[in-house]
Every structure is written in structure tokens, then in C-alpha cells.
């Protein structure tokens, strides 16, 4: 407690984004991006430090840096360094309430409304005012964007969507001089569309409703959930953790209409974090006991529940490597027994499985290439493995000899000659390479 006391002045401060700066252009880590997205001009510094992803010290450093860089401003009228109020919950904004007017939300980064109105454009001044006003409320709850009651039925939602479309769809001003309002209209329409899609679908609508309720019922000690959607690092879903033994395909596309609801986000985050921690601890125990595969899957689960946790990420890299080594070892073992059983095809498949785990193991690449050549099934793959073996261990003559043989079998004489000569340079006594080169010459 006394340590915090020394930071009292900064802790109670409220920061907001400087107008005109585009945070999307900043080189930020996901955790920093997340922090930036939480800055709404209402959440005090103290709560920002607890938001997760970064340690409180890192949050301090980040915020200081951004203030120095002019990205953040310390909001006007922020509560002073009043020690007495420190332990009490923040007096001002209730969770679901929009940020105070003095502290514009990120969406309203543009300059002040009146400055954005340009009478020379082909949009009536009145309409320009409406556009600006609408843009300023884009971070409000969805039903407010559509201007309908929280419990409005589907037909009312659709009607509102149609009416707003008539006014804000970019086609309204087709080929008109609209200046910066063009972007605004696109932004507005997209948001209106998003609101309509979410509220018109009973499933997503229930989710929106739940998140609003959760925000309203949040206990005072919980971090206030600003209504600003994750506009800076908008991500439909956390990135999926890499796949295990299968080739690590990138995450698949998001579900359509995946709701992006920040109000529920923090609350759900806390639950997910707790779960993540359990998995992580189990993973570490398995790691201590050298049960690498188990450790990797536990840590992967932890990451799936708390993708921004830097510590998990860091240890995941290590655990994953050990697990991959372990898995590869098993595959190689199985491949060798398959060879003993004279099942070369199966052996090749197993070597390839091993390569998925440890693609940069020259010996396995070499073995896979040799098998693929002998089996004569897929010369492209054989070439790929052999080339990788050469790349990884260019000093081994056998690697070049094999690659040469593969080229030769594919009729690429010049390439074959180059590789076979390389093999001979490395080992002038390589009779096999010499023989291959000879027959190549004749062919």
C-alpha cells in the first residue's frame, strides 16, 4: 500500500487520446494495443494498470511514453492527487455510461464539430451536422446507434436500419463533393450495418443484451467497462493457438457476425484468465516432470484462454519446442521400425510427420528425401527435402549427392551436375557421386 502511495499523483490521473493522432498507425504490441484501446478519457490510470496484458510497471512506462510522444493528453478536470479518495471506487462515470463530453472517445478523433462543417460541400450544412453528431455516438451501445429501445423487436430494428441507411448510405451523396464526410458516411454506415446485423439475429442479440446487463451490474471494484468497442485493435476473436501435430494452419476465418463487445470483454476476461492460470500451472507441473507433450497442450489451453499473457507466450515457445522435439523423436522411431518391416511408404509418412514438428532437422529431411526418391512418388517433395537438407548442412556431401540424384531423375541435367560436382568437391572420394556424374554426362 505504501508503495502505491508514492505514485498517487499519476494513479488518479485520467488520460485521453490526443485529437488528430491515428493510433492505428503506431507500432504497438497486441498488449499495448489493448491498453491503448482501453483509454477512453474516463478510466483512471490506476485501473488501466490492472487491466491485464501488461504489468502495472509496463503500463506506467507505456502511458508515460505516449504522453511524451503527444499521443495521450492528461484529461482536463481530472481528479487531483487527493489521497483520501484513493481507496474508494472512482466517483465518476458509471460503467455503461458514455465518456464525458470533455474527453472524446477514440472514434471522435476528428477535430471539433464546427470546424468540420464546410458550407462549400454538396451536403447541406444541416446534414453535415447530423453526420458529425452521429459519428460522435458510434461507440454507444448498438440499440442507441439504431435509436431503438433495448428490447425493440426485429421489425423495428430493421425499420430503423432502413431509415438510417437512407440518410447515411454513401450512395446518398453519389458523385457529390463530400470532402472528409465521405469517410464518415462509410464509417457510420458500417456501424449501423453492424448494429443491425447483431440485433436482428436472435443469438448475437442475446449476447449483446447480456454484455449490457453485465456492464450495468458490474460490481464497483471491477474495472469500469468503457462502451468503446475495441476500435484500435479490432479483432473478431483471439488468434487461435497453433495447432499441435498437424501442420500449423493459420486460424480459420471468423464466424460471420462475430460480435465485438467490449463491455462484456473485461468481465469474461477475468474468468478466462482464472481458467488460463489453472491450465498453466498444470502445464508447468508436467514440464517439471518432463512430460513435454502434456505440458505443451496445457500451456496451449492456457494461451487459448488468455492469449495476451506474455508469460504464457514465452513459456509456450519453450514448451512447444520440447514437445515438438519429443514428438519428432517418436515419429522417427516409428519410421525406423516401419523401415525394418519393409514399409517404406509408411516410413516416409512418419518422417514427414516428424518434419512437421521439426522442419529444420537436416538428418530427417535427408532421410525423407531419400525415401521419396526411392519411392519415386513425388519428385517435388523429394527435391524440397533434399534442398532443405543441403541448405541446413551444406558441408555434408551426401546431401548434395542426393539432391543431384533427384534432379537427375527429374531430367534437370544442369542442376544435377551442379549438385553432384558440389558433392565431389566436398568429398573427392565419393564414388557414387562420380558414377552418377559420369552417367549424367552420357545422358
Amino acid at each position: 500500500m505504501h508503495a502505491m502511495g508514492s505514485e498517487a499523483p499519476s494513479e488518479a490521473r485520467v488520460v485521453r487520446l490526443a485529437p488528430g493522432c491515428n493510433p492505428a498507425r503506431l507500432p504497438l504490441s497486441p498488449a499495448e494495443g489493448y491498453l491503448l484501446s482501453r483509454i477512453d478519457g474516463a478510466t483512471p490510470w490506476r485501473l488501466l494498470r490492472e487491466i491485464g496484458g501488461l504489468t502495472p510497471e509496463d503500463v506506467d512506462r507505456c502511458l508515460e511514453r505516449w504522453i511524451d510522444q503527444g499521443i495521450l493528453l492528461v484529461a482536463d478536470g481530472a481528479p487531483g492527487p487527493n489521497g483520501a479518495k484513493r481507496s474508494a471506487p472512482p466517483a465518476s462515470p458509471r460503467p455503461a455510461e458514455p465518456p464525458a463530453a470533455a474527453a472524446p472517445a477514440p472514434a471522435a478523433l476528428a477535430s471539433r464539430p464546427e470546424e468540420a462543417i464546410d458550407a462549400s460541400l454538396e451536403i447541406p450544412v444541416e446534414a453535415q451536422r447530423r453526420i458529425l453528431a452521429f459519428e460522435a455516438k458510434l461507440d454507444r451501445p448498438y440499440h442507441e446507434i439504431l435509436g431503438v429501445a433495448k428490447d425493440a423487436d426485429a421489425r423495428t430494428v430493421k425499420r430503423a436500419y432502413f431509415e438510417l441507411s437512407k440518410e447515411y448510405h454513401p450512395d446518398r451523396y453519389f458523385r457529390k463533393r463530400v470532402g472528409r464526410h465521405g469517410e464518415r458516411l462509410e464509417r457510420i454506415f458500417r456501424k449501423v450495418l453492424e448494429a443491425y446485423e447483431l440485433l436482428a439475429d436472435p443469438t448475437t442479440r442475446a449476447e449483446v443484451q447480456r454484455s449490457l446487463d453485465a456492464a450495468a451490474a458490474a460490481p464497483p471494484a471491477a474495472p469500469p467497462s468503457p462502451p468503446t468497442p475495441l476500435s484500435v485493435v479490432a479483432r473478431p476473436s483471439p488468434p487461435a493457438a497453433p495447432a499441435s501435430s498437424a501442420p500449423p494452419a493459420p486460424p480459420t476465418a471468423p464466424r460471420p457476425r462475430a460480435p465485438r463487445i467490449s463491455t462484456a470483454h473485461l468481465r469474461a476476461l477475468a474468468q478466462r484468465k482464472a481458467k488460463a492460470k489453472t491450465f498453466f500451472e498444470a502445464g508447468m507441473a508436467a514440464f517439471q516432470a518432463s512430460r513435454w507433450l502434456e505440458a505443451a497442450s496445457s500451456v496451449r489451453l492456457a494461451l487459448a484462454f488468455d492469449p495476451w499473457n506474455a508469460a504464457y507466450k514465452e513459456s509456450f515457445a519453450g514448451v512447444q519446442r520440447r514437445a515438438n522435439d519429443e514428438r519428432a523423436k517418436q515419429f522417427v522411431k516409428e519410421a525406423e521400425s516401419a523401415l525394418e518391416l519393409r514399409q517404406p511408404k509408411e516410413a516416409l509418412r512418419l518422417y514427414e510427420e516428424a518434419l512437421h514438428c521439426v522442419p529444420h532437422e537436416p538428418e530427417i529431411n535427408y532421410k525423407a528425401a531419400r525415401l521419396a526418391l526411392v519411392l519415386g512418388e513425388d519428385p517435388k517433395r523429394a527435391k524440397e527435402y533434399a534442398a532443405r537438407a543441403c541448405e541446413l548442412r551444406p558441408e555434408v556431401p551426401a546431401h548434395h549427392r542426393l539432391l543431384g540424384q533427384i534432379y537427375k531423375s527429374g531430367g534437370l541435367v544442369a542442376n544435377a551436375r551442379r549438385e553432384l560436382e558440389a558433392a565431389l568437391r566436398l568429398d573427392p572420394r565419393d564414388a557414387e557421386a562420380r558414377q552418377e556424374l559420369k552417367t549424367l554426362g552420357r545422358g
Binding site: 498507425r25 503506431l26 507500432p27 504497438l28 504490441s29 497486441p30 494495443g33 421489425r155 430493421k158 425499420r159 432502413f162 431509415e163 441507411s165 437512407k166 448510405h169 454513401p170 450512395d171 446518398r172 453519389f174 458523385r175 462509410e186 454506415f189 458500417r190 450495418l193 485493435v233 479490432a234 479483432r235 473478431p236 476473436s237 483471439p238 488468434p239 493457438a241 497453433p242 501442420p247 500449423p248 494452419a249 493459420p250 486460424p251 480459420t252 476465418a253 471468423p254 460471420p256 507466450k313 515457445a317 512447444q320 519446442r321 522442419p359 529444420h360
Partner: protein
């Protein structure tokens, strides 16, 4: 300000309309017809003929008369559809330098956008004669299932015709616009469009002047010509049975059979039985042979029943896409000449449990809708707005040849969607973003719209870097794609210039060449 025309560029017939004093007017051509055959020919004496003039001599000059080229536009030469046309068309289709199908008439080779351009130019001329003033701008319709390349080729055709294409809209959407003009209520409508060459179904919602497309589906190779072909096959078989002569290799006979089949098909919409009479269709050692036979409506229905059923299946799929059942539909519009067939009307009525709407002319409604959209875009008081959708899913190719959809088909535009992707190899420093369009989960089976590389990704183990890919489609349907490395903030983007099959230079060359002919025609 000059007026905007709406053009329905059909597979078999085209139609042009304009808005006059708030009322849509379909413009008749010089012959007094409201539709013009989408045909182009070069006559024996080297004259260029378009429309009815081309159709009239099509029999005697079948090798130099082009029809249904819309089936070829924007496709690759090796596409199954093109290969199918190779067998069926009396004119010569050759492989172009860009792997596109081109049409050879005499010594001259035409690209498909060029042929469409010639037809569009004719429609422009029809409108100009009627209006007595030059026309510069047009809204052109395409089947809902046209992909980006086909749309771009249609735009190129407009350019070749000397038109500025304000927008390309979907045919069924245009029909709904024509129906929705001036209507105040709220209703859901289905547009069943069975034209000469393509079939489309769209489900739309109307609400006080706003038209929202809920879902579209279709088949670019299902249309009235398939009906004709079935009848031709039937006639060929019957003739061979009776006379022992195979007419398949005789282009003149084939063209006559095609014309007769089309006529019989149309007549059978209002009659129960027709007689087909083609004297001197062939001859052998025994002298000239004539084809004379009767065709009953029920026989025709038997020949094409499965084609109609196929279309009904697509309708059911489309309803599912829109999360609707047939009973949710308040009104059914029929578009395209083939919907005059009682069998089609009956099957549609049976599916929806109600008779289709009678108030629109199936041949003209699409052009009218296109003109309405042109007018609506330019007018000051906006009482009509079309909320259009993107017809095909958009996404990128991912590891293992998969297709990750970012924007699902039938998504309202403008729209923006983003998703985070990652690397597949350790220390991978670059990712290639291949932008694709289509419905297959296999990347290679979809159309490639463009590609770019994002470099300078932070060195890390596979699966760690985060690359946020976002898709943006603006109201004009222009797609831009960007990729951003969340760690370094590095960003790379492209605007997907839907590539047609022609380069700007080629289009310019064709425009200039055709201007010469324009002078010739007027002389």
C-alpha cells in the same frame, strides 16, 4: 446533364430504358422492337451487323454470326463452360493471348468484351436516336452470380461502347427496383429470373423505398438456351430415326433447327401443340428430305422438366441462405422470357404456394430497374436506395491450400472485416496474401483477384506473429485488402483492380477501331 440509361445486356436479347419525367420508359429500336437480339455478324460483303439485322441473316451466315457470347465473357478458355460452347456454337472460338476465349470471324479475331461492347454501342445508339441527344452514362446489369472478372469485362465492354458505366448491378436486383418504385409498404419478394443463358434467384426485402438484398443464388449455365438445345436434340434424334441422316455436322441445318426449336418452345407457351416444318433440311442420293413433325406441350415439358427442377433446387438453397421459408415470401417476380412457359410458372407457384406477380414485363423489367438505379444515384431527393450485396465470398489462401473467408457472400456493402492470421514457419519474415473470390474451401478452386507480400515480420517461432488482414468493400464494390503486422505496425495493402481479360491499352485500341466503324455505319 445528360441522361443515364439502363441496359439489360442479355445472353440472347438486350433492352435499354430511361427515366422520363419520373416514369421509366423502355426504348424501342428502329424496327419498333423493345428488345434487340444480342447478336453480331459480319456479312458476306464485309458489313458489320448488329441486333435484328444480324439475326435475320444468321441462318445463311451462321459461321460469321455471334450469339450468346455472354456465356464466354470473363472466363478462361479452358473453363468447362467455354469448352461446352466450342461444341455447340457454329462460330469459331479460339484461345486468346491472355488465355481468354476469343471469337474468330473471317480473318478478324474479337475479344468477348469487344462483342459485348458492340451490342452495348447499339443499345446506346437506340437510346440516342430516341432521346435526340448524346448519352454518356449507363447502369448495366449482370447475372447475380457473375464474378469480379466477368463484371470487370462487362465494364470494359461499356468503355468500348463509349459509355461511362456508373455501376454494374445484378439483374434480379434491378427487377426488384422496378417493382419497388413508388411502393410504400414492407414486403419480402423473390425474383426468379430465367433468361436465355443464366438463372438467378434473389430474395429481397422492401421497406419504404429501401431495398435490401437478403440472398442471391444462381447458375450461369442454366437458361432458355438449354431448353432450345433439348428440343434441337429431340428433333435431331427424331429426324435420324425417320430418315437415317445425322444433321449434327451441318451448321446450316443446325441453325434452322435452333430457330425452329426456339419458336416451337415459345408457341407452346400459349398452345398445346405445334407443327415444325423445315423443308429441304437435307438431301441424299434419294433426293431432298424435309423435317415435318408435331410437338406437344406435354412432350416439351418432358424434355426440360429436370432443368426447371434444377432451378427450383437453387431457389430452395437461396431461401435457406436467407433463413426463410417459402411462405415468408410476399411476392414472386418472374423475369426473363423463359418464365412465360407454363411449366416454369406452375413449379414456381407450387414452391411458393402463390401465383407469381403479373405486373411486370419479364423482358423489360431488368432494363427498367437499371435506369431507375441510375436515376436514384443522381437524383437529389433520395426516395429509393438499394442496399446491394457482394455476390461471392471473399478471403485469402491459407496454409495447406485452404480458403479462409473474410467476407461471406450476400454481405451488404460497404463493409469492412478483419481477422488475425499467423505464420506457418519459424522465423518466417514474409507472408503472401492471396486474395480470392469464390465458394470453395479449396483455395485453388476459387478465383484469384490479386496478391501481395507483407515483408519484415519480426523473427519469431511459427504461430507467434500476428498479421491482421482486413477487407474493405466500398459502395462501388471496389475491394481493398490490407495486411498489418501487429508487432511492428508494418502495413501493406492493395486495391483489387478486378482484372478483366483486357489491358487498358487493348481497350483503347478497340475503342479507336470501333469508332471507325461507327462512322461507317452512319454513312
Amino acid at each position: 446533364m445528360s441522361r443515364v440509361i439502363g441496359i439489360d445486356l442479355g445472353t440472347t436479347n438486350s433492352c435499354v430504358a430511361v427515366i422520363e419525367n419520373g416514369q421509366p420508359t423502355v426504348i424501342p429500336n428502329t424496327g419498333g422492337y423493345k428488345t434487340t437480339p444480342s447478336m453480331f455478324a459480319i456479312s458476306q460483303d464485309g458489313k458489320r451487323l448488329v441486333g435484328h439485322l444480324a439475326k435475320r441473316q444468321a441462318i445463311t451466315n451462321s459461321r460469321n454470326t455471334v450469339y450468346a457470347s455472354k456465356r464466354l465473357i470473363g472466363r478462361r478458355f479452358d473453363a468447362a463452360e467455354v469448352q461446352k460452347s466450342l461444341d455447340l456454337c457454329p462460330y469459331e472460338i479460339v484461345r486468346g493471348p491472355n488465355d481468354d476465349p476469343r471469337i474468330k470471324i473471317g480473318e478478324k479475331i474479337f475479344t468477348c468484351p469487344e462483342i459485348s461492347g458492340i451490342i452495348l454501342r447499339e443499345m446506346k445508339r437506340v437510346a440516342e436516336e430516341y432521346l435526340g441527344e448524346p448519352v454518356r452514362e449507363a447502369v448495366i446489369t449482370v447475372p447475380a452470380y457473375f464474378n469480379d472478372t466477368q463484371r470487370q469485362c462487362t465494364k470494359d465492354a461499356g468503355k468500348i461502347a463509349g459509355l461511362e458505366v456508373m455501376r454494374i448491378i445484378n439483374e434480379p436486383t434491378a427487377a426488384a427496383l422496378a417493382y419497388g418504385l413508388g411502393r410504400k409498404g414492407e414486403e419480402k419478394i423473390a425474383v426468379y429470373d430465367l433468361g436465355g443463358g443464366t438463372f438467378d434467384i434473389s430474395i429481397l426485402e422492401l421497406g419504404n423505398g429501401v431495398i435490401e438484398v437478403l440472398a442471391t443464388a444462381g447458375n450461369t449455365f442454366l437458361g432458355g438456351e438449354d431448353f432450345d438445345r433439348r428440343v434441337v436434340e429431340h428433333l435431331l434424334a427424331r429426324f435420324q430415326e425417320a430418315e437415317g441422316i445425322d444433321l449434327r455436322s451441318d451448321p446450316m441445318a443446325l441453325q434452322r433447327l435452333k430457330d425452329a426449336a426456339e419458336k416451337a418452345k415459345c408457341d407452346l407457351s400459349s398452345r398445346e401443340k405445334v407443327e415444325i416444318n423445315l423443308p429441304f433440311i437435307a438431301s441424299d442420293a434419294k433426293g431432298p428430305r424435309h423435317l415435318t413433325l408435331e410437338l406437344e406441350r406435354s412432350a416439351l415439358e418432358g424434355l426440360v422438366d429436370d432443368i426447371v427442377r434444377q432451378s427450383i433446387k437453387i431457389v430452395e438453397q437461396c431461401l435457406r441462405d436467407a433463413s426463410l421459408t417459402a411462405t415468408d415470401i410476399d411476392q414472386v417476380l418472374l423475369v426473363g422470357g423463359q418464365t412465360r412457359m407454363p411449366l416454369v410458372q406452375n413449379q414456381v407457384a407450387e414452391l411458393f404456394g402463390k401465383r407469381p406477380h403479373k405486373g411486370v414485363n419479364p423482358d423489360e423489367v431488368v432494363a427498367v430497374g437499371a435506369a431507375i438505379q441510375g436515376e436514384a444515384l443522381l437524383s437529389e431527393d433520395k426516395n429509393l436506395l438499394l442496399l446491394d450485396v457482394t455476390p461471392l465470398s471473399l478471403g485469402i489462401a491459407t496454409f495447406g491450400g485452404h480458403f479462409a473467408r473474410l467476407i461471406e457472400r450476400n454481405t451488404t456493402v460497404p463493409v469492412r472485416k478483419a481477422h488475425v492470421f499467423t505464420t506457418t514457419r519459424d522465423n518466417q519474415s514474409a507472408v503472401k496474401i492471396r486474395v480470392l473470390q469464390g465458394e470453395s474451401d479449396v483455395a485453388a478452386e476459387n478465383d484469384l483477384l490479386g496478391e501481395f507480400v507483407l515483408n519484415g515480420i519480426r523473427q519469431a517461432r511459427k504461430g507467434e506473429p500476428e498479421v491482421e488482414v482486413s477487407f474493405d468493400i466500398d459502395a462501388n464494390g471496389i475491394v481493398s485488402v490490407s495486411a498489418r503486422d501487429n508487432a511492428t505496425g508494418k502495413e501493406q495493402s492493395i486495391t483489387v483492380n478486378a482484372t478483366g481479360t483486357l489491358s487498358p491499352e487493348e481497350i483503347q485500341r478497340i475503342v479507336e477501331e470501333n469508332e471507325l466503324y461507327e462512322v461507317q455505319l452512319k454513312r
